[in-house]
Every structure is written in structure tokens, then in C-alpha cells.
């Protein structure tokens, strides 16, 4: 039975430094039926739109549907050059009407797109919706054209009150926050290291991960020089070229597809007060995952204990650590100790006290495609077809992040 907004608000609680968005209950209405990716590389000079189309082709193949079945397209607003419905029709030689939204893509939108898709399907605006994200910041960096820091540098008050002190780009933001975490909770460098080391172990056995061939030991980690302390190179995400896509439809329709449907059980979105200025965030050692996760859990009618595997937006080791805490998977502040016990490794299941995290290697070791591959990996985990397969996955969650906003997507095996 659908839960009211009032009920979701009550179950997810209130905070004095930010809040969850009022997302209507769409639990069980839509499912993911196909996933696809391109190869992930460094500077490749591949075109974003061409990569997006390649990822979509792969997702349609996975779903075993023809291109003319798609009547909805979701892309990212404002990040890189993204696909249009006309690009889609031109490429596939089709003529259908396509419902279009620019509130899709990666980061927080790799989660919230499922909510928007459910609303569109409910309103009969579309029935088969593709969410796609492509980025070529590795090429951009080589050419000096586009980079992840561009938006932050262009924002007027950041330019006037942060840039003059050199608090830019993003590694500096989260290094500052991570130091505070170390002060408040006693988190150590060795504990923080467990995050990049565990994700690297996952990448080492994952074909397609950019750092597949590069091992990372604790000694190797500690020997890396600081970039912006307490972050070393291994604490910071890769910069990559690549694309990912997934296909959503109603759960009812999804049961006619060849692969088992991966049902969207809950979606949450949270924002800090004072957004977009994270310098003004009143809890420097937490993330807005604090607001989005409880909302998604309430919608899915689960607790964090029910999660079997997670994908966490790991632009930096510290942001992954804080989000894991804020998802309620260990006590606040204990994330370092929790990770250092090996609890994020894919073989450390919930029954053993762990929570497998970023089993493809994440942004730190798989590729920096801003989270869309995290969702794709979780779909494979729920289907039971992942490379680093976690045993007995029923429920999975993705934690999306931009800085001032977080999102949470709960996926589950079809009943």
C-alpha cells in the first residue's frame, strides 16, 4: 500500500542542517530491465554522444528490446554534452515520440531518475525509459577544455569568497572535512586507507576497471605523498571517458523481459541548508545522505540492516566513509574502524558483519563516470551476475552525491 508523504516524513525524521525532499512513494512501481556501458578509458577523444549511444545499444541488447520500443529518455542537465531525442532517432533510424527529461544522468540523478521515471510512467507519458550518462573529462583534461571543477569556479560567491583563498577544486573541500572527521572521531590514516584499498581489490578482479592491473597495499598507500592532506592520490577519484545507461519500465511489464527485474523499492533525496555552499554546511563530518537514506528506507520499508550490497559515490575516500556512516551502516564516526576491519569487501557479507561496497572498484578504481556504473553494478549484483558477486543479494542501495545534495536508491529482487 502506498505510504503518504506525512508518513514518510515522520519515519525519516528531521534535522537542523538540511532536509529530505518530499518524494512521493513509488515503491515497487518501476524496475530496471537492462544495463549497458562503454569501455572506460583515459583520454580517448571519444565523443560524448557517441559514447552515450554505445551504452544505450548495450543496455537495449541486455534488455533484448529494439530501439523503437523506447519512448522516454533521461539525461544529465549541465554536465557535458548529452544526448537529445533527435540524436536517438537519427542514430537508430526510428521515428517515435520520446518523452524527455534532463533530470537524469549520474551523481544524485542516477537515483532520482528512477523516481521521475516512475512518475512519468504513472502519468502515461512514457512506458520504456532510458537513463544515460556520458562524460569525457579525461579527454577534457588533456585538452584543457572541460574539468570537474568548472561549475564550482564559475559560481559567483565561490569565486568571490573561496577561490581567493585557494579553496578549490573539490579535493580541498573534502580534505578539509576529512581532517575534521579525524579530529572529532579519531579516524586514522590507516583506517581511511582501507577504503581505497578495498575498492582497489574489487577493481583488481573486475574486467573493465581502469586500475585492474594496479594493486594497492597499505604500505604503498602510506608511501604516496599527500595531495591535500589527509588525501593522497589513492583517496581521489579517477578522471575518465565513458558512458553508462539503464532501461526502466513498469514492474508489471518488466516481468516479460528476459532478465529478472530489479525493482526500485525506494528513492530519497536530501539537501543541506545553505546549498550550494558546502563551506556553510553545519555538520562538516556528515553528508546529506543523512536525510536521503532514511527517506528511501522508509519508502522501501526496510532498515539499513536489510541491505546486502551498496554502491557509494566515492569522489573521495572520505566522502564514501561519511556516506557509509550516514546510511546507518555503522555508528556515526566509526566508519574508519568499520572499513579497516575489511567490512566493505565483497566477500564480507551482512551475516559476517560486513556490507560489500563498490564491488566494481568505484570512482576510485573502476572509472569516474559519476555513479551510473555504481547503479549498473548493483543491478548485476541483484541479478546474481556480478563479477565480484556477493552471496544471496536481495536488497541493494546506491548513495549518490553532488556535495550539497545526496540521493539514495534502494533496489530489490522481484518478489
Amino acid at each position: 500500500m502506498q505510504q503518504s508523504l506525512a508518513n514518510l516524513r515522520k519515519k525519516s525524521g528531521t534535522h537542523n542542517w538540511g532536509a529530505a525532499a518530499d518524494l512521493e512513494d513509488i515503491s515497487g512501481e518501476v524496475a530496471i530491465v537492462g544495463v549497458g556501458e562503454t569501455a572506460f578509458t583515459g583520454a580517448s577523444h571519444r565523443n560524448n554522444k557517441a559514447m552515450a549511444l554505445e551504452a544505450i545499444e548495450s543496455a537495449l541488447l541486455d534488455a533484448q528490446i529494439s530501439p523503437d520500443c523506447v519512448d522516454g529518455l533521461m539525461v544529465s542537465f549541465g554536465i557535458a554534452e548529452q544526448l537529445t531525442p533527435q540524436d536517438y532517432r537519427d542514430h537508430f533510424g526510428t521515428e517515435q515520440d520520446i518523452w524527455f527529461s534532463d533530470q537524469g544522468g549520474a551523481m544524485i540523478w542516477a537515483a532520482t531518475c528512477a523516481h521521475e521515471a516512475a512518475m512519468a510512467i504513472r502519468a502515461k507519458q512514457a512506458s520504456v525509459i532510458v537513463n544515460v550518462f556520458a562524460v569525457n573529462w579525461a579527454s577534457g583534461r588533456q585538452q584543457g577544455s572541460a574539468s570537474p571543477g568548472d561549475w564550482h569556479a564559475s559560481e559567483s560567491l565561490k569565486a568571490a569568497l573561496e577561490m581567493p583563498f585557494g579553496w578549490h577544486p573539490q579535493p580541498l573541500y573534502f580534505a578539509t572535512f576529512m581532517r575534521r572527521h579525524m579530529h572529532e572521531f579519531g579516524t586514522t590514516e590507516e583506517q581511511l586507507a582501507a577504503i581505497p584499498i578495498t575498492f582497489r581489490q574489487h577493481a583488481n578482479s573486475h574486467p573493465g576497471a581502469k586500475l585492474r592491473e594496479k594493486a594497492l597495499s597499505l604500505e604503498g598507500y602510506l608511501n604516496q605523498p599527500m595531495i591535500a592532506d589527509p588525501f593522497r592520490v589513492a583517496d581521489c577519484c579517477l578522471i575518465s571517458d565513458g558512458a553508462g545507461a539503464f532501461v526502466m519500465t513498469s514492474t508489471e511489464q518488466a516481468r516479460d523481459y528476459p532478465k529478472p527485474p530489479v525493482v526500485v523499492a525506494g528513492v530519497g533525496r536530501g539537501m543541506i541548508e545553505g546549498a550550494p555552499y558546502i563551506s556553510q554546511q553545519k555538520q562538516l563530518t556528515a553528508t546529506p545522505q543523512t536525510f536521503s537514506a532514511p527517506w528511501a528506507y522508509a519508502m522501501a520499508d526496510i532498515t539499513p540492516k536489510d541491505l546486502d550490497v551498496i554502491g557509494v559515490y566515492d569522489c573521495f575516500s572520505g566522502t564514501a566513509l561519511m556516506q557509509i556512516e550516514d546510511m546507518g551502516l555503522c555508528p556515526k564516526g566509526a566508519g574508519g574502524e568499520f572499513a579497516a576491519k575489511g567490512n566493505l569487501h565483497f566477500e564480507r557479507t551482512r551475516s559476517q558483519g560486513g556490507i560489500p561496497c563498490n564491488t566494481h572498484g568505484g570512482l576510485l578504481a573502476h572509472a569516474y563516470v559519476l555513479g551510473i556504473s555504481h547503479v549498473i553494478e548493483l543491478v548485476r549484483q541483484v541479478r546474481g551476475e556480478a563479477i565480484n558477486q556477493v552471496e544471496g543479494v536481495e536488497v541493494a542501495a546506491y548513495a549518490g552525491f553532488t556535495a550539497e545534495e545526496s540521493s539514495t536508491l534502494v533496489l530489490r529482487r522481484d518478489a
Partner: protein, 141 residues
């Protein structure tokens, strides 16, 4: 990276930089509601009155910092130390600021720091008079 004249003329942050040029630390506030408004806004969200600027005493709590060792930001020579401080007389306001690299080993979260003014120089030759902070007890050295 903005020029000093752009900072001085910035629609919202200009008064912060004009005060800094005079050796003063100011923040935006609403005189009517007696609340600080940071980052600055033209009008108060509560009463819609035009905001004004108030001078602070200059003592603050060091919330956190990072020592930047690699030139991720090409405008600044490394090492340099951007920091976040909360003025003791403006609780809830968080200032992005800067600490001289000489103090890197003296820093502890929550220590009291105080404002000082000097030129910050960027690698491309820009310079502007800015408020930065240093550990208490270092003044006048």
C-alpha cells in the same frame, strides 16, 4: 580567478574586500532581525530589509584546514593552507580563509585563531589584501 578590482566591486561580496583593504573583517547581517547572513545576500530572507555589514573582533575557532601539497589549483604556489573558521562573535558563520604555511605544525581543530591582514599573491601575479588567520599568541611577531 578574479582580479582585486572585481573582488572590490563584486555585487554581493564587495564590502568584505573593501573592508579587508582597510584592515577590517566584516560580515553581512540584518540589523533589523539581528542575525548574520552568510554568505551575503542583498536582502534579509525574514524581513526583506536591505542587509548591512558589521565588523567582527577577529577571533575565531579553527574548524578545519588542509595543507595543499600538489598544484591542484594553479593559482597558488604549494604548499598553502586554506581553512575554515567560525568567528567567536558570529556563531554559525563559517569563513573560508587562509593560514600561512609556517604554522602548518601548530594547527589543531578548535584552537583559537585571530585575524591578520596581508597581501595574498597568486602565481599569475595578482595580489589582493585579504584577511587570513593565525594561531592566537602569534600576533605582532
Amino acid at each position: 580567478m578574479l582580479e582585486q578590482r572585481d573582488l572590490l566591486n563584486h555585487a554581493l561580496a564587495g564590502p568584505f574586500w573593501q573592508a579587508a583593504a582597510d584592515g577590517k573583517l566584516v560580515i553581512c547581517s540584518c540589523a533589523n532581525c539581528e542575525v548574520d547572513i552568510w554568505y551575503p545576500k542583498e536582502r534579509c530572507d525574514h524581513c526583506n530589509q536591505e542587509t548591512s555589514w558589521r565588523e567582527l573582533g577577529g577571533r575565531a575557532r579553527l574548524l578545519s584546514w588542509t595543507v595543499v601539497e600538489r598544484a591542484l589549483n594553479p593559482n597558488f604556489a604549494v604548499p598553502y593552507i586554506p581553512a575554515l573558521v567560525e568567528p567567536l562573535d558570529a556563531p554559525g558563520v563559517q569563513l573560508v580563509t587562509w593560514i600561512k604555511p609556517d604554522f602548518r605544525d601548530a594547527l589543531v581543530c578548535d584552537m583559537v585563531v585571530h585575524v591578520a591582514f596581508d597581501l595574498i599573491r597568486t602565481t599569475d601575479g595578482k595580489e589582493f589584501r585579504a584577511p587570513y588567520f593565525e594561531p592566537a599568541g602569534q600576533q605582532g611577531e
